[in-house]
Symmetry: C2
Subunit: 260 residues, 2 copies
Amino acid sequence: MTAAPTHDDKLCPEEWHDTSGRATWTRVVQALERSKSSLRKLRPGEDILTFGTPCDAIHLLVSGWAYVFRPLEDGQQVILQFADRGTIIGFHPEPNATAQYSARTLSNSTIAVVSYDHFELLFKEAPDVAIRLAALLSRDRNLAFDSVTSFSRISARQRVARLLLQLTLHASAQGAYPKELSIPLTQEHIADATGLSTGHVNRTLGELRRNGIVEFQYRKLRILNLGDLITAAGIDGPSAKTLRDVAAQAASRPHWGVSP
Amino acid sequence: MTAAPTHDDKLCPEEWHDTSGRATWTRVVQALERSKSSLRKLRPGEDILTFGTPCDAIHLLVSGWAYVFRPLEDGQQVILQFADRGTIIGFHPEPNATAQYSARTLSNSTIAVVSYDHFELLFKEAPDVAIRLAALLSRDRNLAFDSVTSFSRISARQRVARLLLQLTLHASAQGAYPKELSIPLTQEHIADATGLSTGHVNRTLGELRRNGIVEFQYRKLRILNLGDLITAAGIDGPSAKTLRDVAAQAASRPHWGVSP
DNA sequence: CGAGCCGTTGATGCAAATCAACCCCTGTGG
DNA sequence: CCACAGGGGTTGATTTGCATCAACGGCTCG
């Protein structure tokens, strides 16, 4: 918390290093914040945007936590994405678009709203920023593909493990490596994000805890054995090595409490 | 685009009409074909790109059918997207990226390859084309979100109905309205795309057929009752009306054989 | 210190997986 | 044009993972 350099990045800071004069992620966020039309402050549980309503603005989550979801007919919801500080929500690069999803805060949050006009101007005047945003969209799409993969023929254990792994790697990519992560999610959120029932999520979390892999309770995430978590996530292909490298790198940083 | 929520289509020509001097989809495809580095011809079942290998080029499917997928550890695969003529595959707007998915042909196909350098140049010189490509990525993500929604707590019947509906609307958005659509998919592909077993896909298709809703057999898709298909897909929210409008529009076109 | 949400656990039911055997289309080569 | 081979589709018996529902227990925050 103290020593670790605070990156403004949502994503791997390394990923956005300024090579060959291209825009860094920080610059993109700054550019967006500069051209913001307004700043909204929301309490937990309030809607940032709503599925089916017109939305031709970009919403940048300046502070707080939120989640992106699709409401279902029967009152249930499917969580598509969790978002924290620095995340762009509701990027519809078309005029007069309607929101394809809803977004709701999990904690007190601040949101910068950038209107489509401003955005289009930005796109034309700063093509490097545009490329970065396209890269961001590409990454979001890949994350969505991850979700699809997780939902198909994957066991409950793997689904939950994948989600927790994702949250962990996300936090560590931001330079936060505490023993214990504070993430404002309930088991019901995990259920909505994995497509499982709360009962089964609980059982699965209990199993992972009893196996000494990971603990998630009362909005606290504790990684006990990252290697086993990766295994539990069922990632054994070519991506496993990369992942373990990232993990090793993270483990070597200060304030990271994983045992050897 | 007009407000066509969840299931709007892949390459809706109408969607890309030139309003306010912006790039049409046709122009984007032409621009890409012009700056192509090479043209590949592939037979059915060959790989266009492979998960985990370097890929900093854009692949444009000039002719034929293909599908985008993630391989699973146990030899299974999750199909993320079906693609036909005019679809852009493998759009990673970053240099030295690795492919986050594989893509494989379903029929004889031609692929135009646009290298990253050419692409970056295009991005800088024609920002309107860039915006279109960003919109494409955004739409791909939304389609992936559709898939996630379909996978969560949705019955097999609904999943299969949604996929067939998507294929139908895609074809009709392209102006093809025959009684019978030729789509080079087996039931195993449907299974991989819906996360079901082939056995259950078969039973579900049989049920839909016996209900007089839709037939899918031997690579032929026949819509018997589009209204009921929409109902079977379980889309009853605000998007249902729009969808039924699209359907009615399609039904009024020549060569469309849906009974009243 | 209490209320209420969150997490925990157990009993029961069902939707879909699995596996195996069979049948039917379709496109091939004679 | 027919025969044959093989992939794709069909069907049934059995198993299983997860949903559902209900009741209880323990955090945490006001």
